[in-house]
């Protein structure tokens, strides 16, 4: 794979302290960025995979873009990210950088739309409030990585993919009657982690 355009010039890197750790074995954000710069397709695939829902949430929740606009902005953000990865000063700061690219792209899209047709005004402060909520959601998402694979899967399927108990049970291969208690147990562990009482993986989601 060719290195992304502009991938050569790199200044001194400052390692930002990360308060949270990703699941064991997952490359860090900085490692993914370095891989992308080196032209590693897999690193790019993982980077997109890791942050796609974050970019998506900023588009549809932070700025309430309609689906077709959100899709255009989403693709535009990743195209810009690919083009400009070499300009990123701190590889650990790829998420805030993506957030900035996404916010700008959303605002550009809203401005362009307002020249063609009137767009509904966002309530005062709405955007900031929603973006703060996306950040909060990301914090919890990162905590999720500290849970067992089983917990992660059950919580993701139930809350993020809106799957029913029956679907989860069939996909994961566990009795439907145990889903609610597993969700509850995993959430409890997540809560403990969020409140700083437990930052180590604990709940197995019922699997031993």
């Amino acid at each position: 794979m060719e290195a992304p355009p502009g991938g050569g010039a790199q200044g001194p890197r400052r390692r930002a302290a990360r308060g949270l750790t990703l699941a064991q074995g997952s490359p860090t954000d900085a490692q993914l960025v370095a891989g992308c710069r080196a032209g590693d397709h897999e690193a790019w695939r993982l980077l997109v995979d890791r942050f796609s829902r974050y970019v998506f949430a900023i588009c549809v929740q932070g700025f309430r873009l309609a689906e077709h606009d959100a899709e255009d902005v989403f693709q535009d953000v990743w195209a810009r990210a690919y083009e400009r990865l070499g300009q990123l000063r701190d590889d650990d700061a790829v998420r805030p950088w993506l957030a900035q690219l996404t916010r700008r792209a959303c605002l550009d899209r809203l401005r362009a739309a307002s020249r063609v047709e009137p767009v509904a005004e966002l309530e005062e402060g709405f955007e900031d409030e929603e973006l703060a909520r996306v950040e909060d959601a990301w914090f919890v998402r990162e905590l999720l990585e500290g849970l067992s694979a089983n917990c992660r899967e059950i919580l993701d399927r139930f809350f993020c993919r809106d799957q029913s108990y029956a679907t989860i049970a069939s996909e994961v291969g566990i009795p439907p009657g145990t889903i609610a208690s597993r969700i509850s147990r995993c959430l409890r562990t997540l809560r403990e982690m969020a409140e700083g009482r437990n930052d180590a993986p604990a709940a197995s989601g019922g699997q031993t």
Partner: protein, 84 residues
Amino acid sequence: MSTYDEEKLGELLAALPPAPEAWVRAAQDLPLLRAQADEIVARAEADAAFRERLVANLNAALEAEGYEPDVRLVEQLRGRLEDA
């Protein structure tokens, strides 16, 4: 940090649904698409007849050369061939 009860955690988890798969795949394919576009533009620069065929009918020329005329590839090539 604010307090997180189970209900709030559930709401926050739900606030980050996955992006549509096709969108994600398209973004992931970006490097391959760029590489393909680079290859085609390089060929067009070296082969005037090929470039003429591309300019005359991009989709048909791509298909004739065995490229999948993906809409994103076509858009990118259109811009680059105009610039070149």
